[in-house]
Symmetry: C3
Subunit: 247 residues, 3 copies
């Protein structure tokens, strides 16, 4: 039996083949779990909300949602979602394939996330963020959206492909973190950054091209673009493209 | 049936009319839920503690506590409390009307919070904080209380009416954030701030009157005091007073 | 009956005398709870993981794990562990006696923690941290480990005996926080610090000996080393040693 006898699963929920649901988890009617999903214990999926416009929560095939997580209705995830524990995702979060998000992270909804994005623990994403592909965010990163809180003005943050935001950094409203940038730990960033450039500090300053940083593995190679040396968990087809790129 | 058959509710708890209690929630004896409260799943309310002096947890009428939250006995909330998920509130937290507190926020108890206060996600409030009315705090704000940790000296933080503390800011022990101040994101603040003034940086510096900040809505109005333009969710009687104020 | 009728406890788990297990808690086979442990509600203990090498989770006698916490198999805790709510501990975390860790803190596993360590709420400990005895960390401290993320290079942080790290500080990869140091709030620290010295800022700067800080209790004594005046909760035999130390 794959669905725990201690789970509460609505008869109207659409549950794929080989789906596992842990004890004490609640799955509401407005949920679609595609084949081979694993849902941990104490999760609540498909919480209704007047902002969801009655749309389903869709979890792509082969996803794994760990315990104590909360997902609202009206969000969609491609295949291969992997979460830590106690993740929160509000309505209208539209996510591509192979998204990874760590324990205690919190997505406020009404935002867009590309493919192969990896977000660590305790990351907070305000509404109207627009996140590209292959982006990384480390613990306690916050994406904001209100330039003079509280107000009715919303300026979401953009994070482009391959950008990396290190721990405890705040991305200020309307900022654009350009492709391949590295934001150092404990920084505050506003405005539009230059591609493949390091920024750090509060307020953040430009510190030169990311290629200046050398890998501390004894090889003397550049640490960025990281896709030249870090391939763990990406599809082979993607890694093959990266290995054949010219710089 | 408003009380889930999967909830554990003490026969001694005082449960008002039309109260909804979600599955797997535990409500201990020392709890008073007033009329029309909604309590989500997996909450535990009324945890006993030797510091609570055996006083009840009182949740005012029309409150909504979301899932996975934990409240100790010995705290009192006025009507209209709204919480996110996984909120923690320790004993002897005395709160006014219409308090809003976001997902993962954590109140350490032994503190006082006024009316219409709005705290976002992941805010941490140390003991002996004294928070006025209409205060705002954004994600990952921390109020501290020990000037030379660890010690037995406690210097709680004061936050006065209408003050706003932006994301990831630390308010140092004994600081007084005066009425109408704006604390910028990612700042550290000590001492007593001047009323209606902007402070930012770590250590925080005075950056001029809050009225210098203009609303990014094309009107050219000042963004502060925010009550001149931001009214969402406040009672009409309060908004009427604000609209008739002279500056 | 000490084990709640609503808990799910594997018959293979090793449960000591007088152990209390709260409602809806799950205890897997690979768990050893020694005598007199108290486990709150909604916890999941002994989650399996291919990195655990099939080793047990061992919780020492007289421990208290609060609600909604998650512990993986393959970690070991000495007697007297006390946790807040919603703590997460991954595999291969090796901890001494009397460890205290606050609500929402998160240990990524593969790390070592000494005796009498006290970690407050929302502390994040990356893999390969090496933490001594009598260490303190305050809310939202992050220990990191990757010098150029993402990469396969891991440089864990070392925190030596009696060191204190104040709120919202980031300890950068490979840093060594030496014995008796005080890291001020909202700081970023790299490299090796000098013993019994204050560092603060981002990037952190040396601010002089910790003995310069005077206790704000009217006595004029130095606030550091803190063990000269702060004894709450430590064993009398330890306090006796501290009181007889010469400085």
């Amino acid at each position: 039996m794959l669905i725990s006898e201690y789970a509460i699963v609505s008869e109207k929920a659409r549950i794929g083949a080989n789906v596992v649901v842990g004890p004490y988890t609640i799955i509401h009617a407005n949920v679609e779990l595609q084949d081979n999903c694993i849902i941990g214990a104490y999760c609540e999926l498909g919480i209704s909300n007047h902002l969801s416009c009655g749309e389903n929560l869709v979890i792509g095939k082969g996803s794994h949602i760990r315990s104590h997580s909360v997902f609202y209705e009206g969000s969609k995830f491609g295949p291969g979602l992997i979460t830590g524990h106690r993740v929160t995702v509000r309505e209208k979060t539209m996510v591509g394939d192979n998204f990874q998000i760590g324990t205690l992270s919190d997505i406020q909804g009404h935002c867009k996330i590309g493919d192969h994005v990896r977000i660590f623990n305790n990351v907070h994403i305000a509404q109207h963020a627009d996140i590209g592909d292959f982006v990384w965010m480390f613990p306690y990163v916050v994406l904001t959206n209100d330039p003079h809180p509280p107000s009715e003005v919303v300026q979401g943050v953009t994070v482009q492909n391959f950008a990396v935001i290190a721990t405890m950094s705040v991305i200020l409203p309307g900022a654009i973190i350009s492709e391949g940038c590295l934001i150092g730990a404990h920084s505050s960033i506003s405005g539009k950054t230059v591609k493949d450039t390091i920024y750090a500090g509060s307020p953040g300053k430009k510190l030169g091209p990311t290629s200046n940083i050398k890998l501390k593995d004894g090889t003397g190679r550049s640490a960025y673009p990281w896709r030249k040396h870090f391939h763990r968990g990406y599809p082979q087809a993607v890694v093959d493209i990266w290995c054949n790129e010219k710089y």
